[in-house]
């Protein structure tokens, strides 16, 4: 019989192998799922893991999806390492899209010519928007000790309704046949395309930069150290004199800024305008990305790549195999549960025994 036996020390090797096992389990579950639905499992797997990366165009699309996932996951990794369980990055993304998009639309309406400076202004506005939304959660936690999980989650829906209200109202394109969406931004307000003929935009550079800076912050800087001690052992942080309020604010502001940046990058990138559904749940998927990437700013590069494949594979299997739209969510869910199961192996080992 298979027995679980506690390890003397948590295994570092397993903590990195666990996501790999989780991915393999997800693939296995995918095969079972395809067979159960009467589809050819090889075709199904190809739609998820081969076709998206079989040509340059595919890689570019993966990059487009990686951008928001990676930006947010880096922010979430910082939060979760500080034991600040912000699960409302989706809301912070939406506010970033609203603030950055509004700023860009406003400048565009003013007859400006766009260009790097104005794009930068819009990006900063987006970051401030995300930070503002994160600040609401943070103030409530800081002043009234509310639970940040609940507050940040509930604020997601407020943010989505706010966006919906705006694009049905003052931001609606007057010439848009009453569709709930804003005017299209001029090309001069959009992020530059870094691979001609594709949609891959400058946002991916920002995302990789965020990942590198996040790594320096968490593993090299003293404030990153303080923040993680607060997450791992609050009593030790208090003993050391590290302020728990400061690490709460630091981590929430970093995450809010990055999620907001992700939002405005969507508006100034592939979408090009404000629509009621600016994000297909990037803020939530990034939670899985952060954990699969072991809350490591470099590790999340790989996990956001996997998650991007799921998004594109989900779309492809809808068109090719007639799978339902929910397939992406199903794969995300299986990955998360497999990871939680495999993480047991970090603290336990399996043994055959009587």
């Amino acid at each position: 019989m298979l027995k679980l036996e506690a390890r003397a020390n948590p295994s570092t090797l397993m903590s990195w192998l666990s996501p790999v096992f989780a991915l393999l389990l997800t693939v296995l579950c995918g095969v079972i799922l395809f067979v159960a639905l009467g589809k050819n499992p090889l075709e199904g797997l190809a739609a998820f893991f081969w076709e998206p990366i079989s040509n340059l165009q595919g890689w570019a699309e993966v990059g487009v999806k990686v951008t928001p996932l990676l930006l947010i996951a880096v922010g979430l990794a910082v939060c979760y390492r500080a034991s600040v369980f912000n699960i409302g990055a989706e809301g912070q993304l939406v506010l970033g899209a609203i603030a950055g998009g509004w700023a860009a639309l406003h400048m565009n309406d003013g007859g400006n010519t766009g260009g790097a400076a104005m794009i930068a202004v819009a990006l900063v506005a987006g970051m401030l928007g995300g930070m503002f939304w994160a600040a609401i959660t943070t103030v409530l936690r800081d002043r009234f000790n509310t639970n940040e999980i609940l507050v940040s989650l509930m604020l997601v829906y407020v943010a989505q309704l706010l966006l919906s209200y705006l694009v049905h109202g003052i931001l609606m394109d007057p010439d848009g046949a009453n569709f709930p969406q804003s005017k299209l931004l001029d090309d001069s307000f959009l992020l530059p395309i870094i691979m001609q003929g594709t949609r891959l935009h400058f946002g991916i550079v920002l995302a990789l930069l965020a990942s590198g800076l996040g790594w320096v912050f968490l593993s090299r800087s003293f404030s990153g150290f303080k923040l993680q001690v607060g997450g791992m052992a609050p009593l030790a942080a208090r003993y050391a004199g590290f302020s728990s309020r400061k690490s709460l604010w630091t981590s929430m502001m970093i995450c809010g800024a990055l999620a907001g940046l992700a939002g405005v990058c969507e508006v100034l990138g592939p979408v090009g305008q404000l629509t009621p559904t600016i994000s297909p749940g990037y803020g939530f998927a990034a939670i899985i990305v952060a954990y699969v990437g072991r809350l490591h700013p470099i590790g999340v590069i790989f996990s956001s790549f996997i998650m991007a494949l799921f998004y594109i594979g989900g779309e492809l299997s809808q068109s090719r195999l007639g799978m339902p739209n929910a397939i992406t969510g199903v794969f995300q869910g299986i990955l998360l549960f497999s990871l939680l199961a495999c993480d047991v192996l970090i603290h336990y080992r399996m043994r055959w025994g009587k």
Binding site: R7, A233, A240
Partner: protein, 529 residues
């Protein structure tokens, strides 16, 4: 077996419990390696050993919560397999754990009823509790809620609970760590009475004096093996500790010194409770001077935690002027700020407070070493950290893989040596140490005490809070006692006696003879009652 105490077991010479070749292996360690143990009827048998010697595992095997990999257990001459604690209880084994398992919001009777069959009537049970308690001289009111009881009283509840099952073997795990000397004496009387009635007692402890005073036979364990069986009354504390650790700890020589300037001053510190089960501090005043060790004695839960948090800066609710370091008021300064002003602090919890379990020893330095040598332009200097950590490991003889080992991988005693070393290396002006040798083996404890004394001789002002009176008497220059959130007058160590301090630990310094405190300037207001 030479036995100076009266023990019916010897006369009948029947064996209650016999263990033969008990072995238990864990992935990284052999906790018990072929242990033989014989406990006679009516015998008080102590199992003595350092932390990690395998005492607890052995007790868990007897109590059925751990299964041995090999070996035989004979109970009253018959071989038994103890599958779980309830099987052990059916045999007549009862255990009083070091950590109580009582619900604060229930009464004594209700707590005890929880372990009994459902149809037990509470009023009858209350009577049985009262009779049993009286029979063994254990003062107990069955109707009281547990949260109103002192720690000693909680222990009595646990003992009565065990006695109600009419055990043939009672296991006690480090029972005296929470008791005043007077309460320890009462506990011993109860245990002697029990033993005289034929109940065997297994007494787990590392306190040599207690074992010598109480026990008939002593089995000494080291590193999972039995290293000796002896009659503790015939042994000296030194010879027992030789059996236990293989060496004799060096004694500390006391040298009287003139203390210097006042380094830490606490002036009328009062703090309300932070949560319902905390202790409020009331009107605490004392000083600690350069080159002296001031010891604070007291039974746990009398405000030590709260006082420590207020002094270290983890709790900054104190009045601005209530605490001063080298003449500067620091009541509102946090721990990092007080550290900058020369304070060092060794907390009682090592893992999770004094050190982060999952971080390396080198990284753990950053909890208190936050100066230019370890942090430059906001970035951590990892190579410098490793250097300092390696230095501490070497100088304080910490058994560790190296600076990159995680704090959690060290044994309690070694981690404590590391933390004390970390604070000593900072060369603090004032060092506050809580429970310096709690759960630390004899060898490491002696080393830690010697380091503290060396620091005093170098001119540091030390405040040591400990529940081990022997330790305070060994290293302190002056003693204070904390009871119910109030602090006693100070008394010179050489003028203090164990019984007087024991009395003060119950909060009774206002009554009876006022202490002859020679350094009158330090007598706080509490003594003028």
């Amino acid at each position: 077996m030479g036995n100076s105490h009266q023990s019916p077991g010897d006369r009948e010479s029947d064996t209650r419990l016999l263990l033969r070749g008990i072995t238990k292996r864990y992935p990284s360690v052999v906790a018990n390696d072929g242990i033989d143990l014989t406990v006679l009827t009516g015998e008080i048998h102590s199992v003595l050993g350092e932390n990690g010697a395998g005492k607890s595992t052995l007790m868990k095997i007897i109590y059925g919560s751990v299964k041995p990999d090999a070996g035989q257990i004979l109970w009253n001459g018959k071989e038994v397999h103890i599958a779980n604690p309830s099987a052990a209880r059916d045999l007549g084994v009862a255990m009083v754990f070091q950590h109580f398992s009582l619900f604060d919001t229930l009464t004594v009777t209700e707590n005890i009823a929880l372990g009994l069959p459902k149809h037990t009537k509470l009023d009858e049970l209350a009577k049985r509790i009262e009779t049993t308690a009286r029979e063994y001289g254990l003062d107990l009111e069955p109707q009281r809620h547990v949260h109103t009881l002192s720690v000693g009283e909680c222990q009595r509840v646990e003992i009565v609970r065990a006695l109600l099952t009419k055990p043939q073997l009672l296991i006690l795990d480090e029972p005296t760590s929470v008791l005043t000397p007077q309460a320890v004496e009462r506990l011993f009387e109860t245990l002697r009475k029990l033993a005289a009635e034929g109940c065997s007692i297994l007494y787990i402890s590392h306190k040599l004096d207690e074992i010598r005073a109480l026990c008939h036979t002593c089995t000494v364990m080291r590193a999972g093996k039995v290293t000796g069986i002896c009659d503790p009354t015939q042994e000296s504390a030194a010879s027992l500790s030789r059996l236990m650790i293989g060496a004799e700890p060096p004694a500390i020589k006391y040298v009287e010194r003139q203390p210097g300037a006042t380094m830490l001053k606490v002036d009328k510190l009062s703090l309300p409770k932070i949560h319902p089960f905390a202790t409020a501090l009331s009107d605490i005043s004392f000083e600690v001077r350069a080159g002296e060790i001031v010891g604070i004695a007291g039974v746990s839960g009398n405000g030590q935690q709260e006082l420590l948090a207020a002094l270290s800066g983890e709790d900054i609710r104190a009045e601005y002027n209530a605490i001063s370091l080298q003449g500067e008021a620091v009541g509102h300064t946090n721990a990092a700020g007080r550290r900058l002003r020369g304070l060092g602090f060794v907390p009682e919890e090592r893992l999770g407070r004094g050190a982060v379990p999952d971080l390396s020893l080198a990284q753990n330095l950053l909890l208190s070493h936050q100066g230019a040598s370890t942090v430059k332009h906001g970035f951590v200097r990892f190579s410098a950290l490793s250097g300092i950590a390696a230095n501490i490991i070497q100088r304080f003889k910490v058994k560790a893989g190296g600076p990159q080992s995680t704090a959690a991988s060290l044994s309690g005693g070694n981690l404590q040596k590391y933390i004390v070393g970390r604070e000593v290396m900072r060369e603090p002006k004032v060092l506050i140490v809580a429970q310096p040798t709690w759960g630390v083996d004899v060898g490491a404890a002696a080393q830690i005490r010697a380091e503290l004394v060396a620091l005093r001789d170098a001119g540091c002002a030390l405040l040591v809070i400990s529940e081990e009176l022997d330790e305070l008497f060994e290293i302190s220059d002056r003693l204070l006692v904390i009871a119910k959130g109030r602090i006693s007058p100070s008394i010179k160590r050489v003028d203090a006696t164990i019984s007087q301090i024991g009395l003060w630990m119950s909060g009774l310094w206002d009554q009876g003879d006022p202490p002859s405190a020679p350094d009158v300037e330090l007598v706080p207001e509490a003594s003028h009652a």
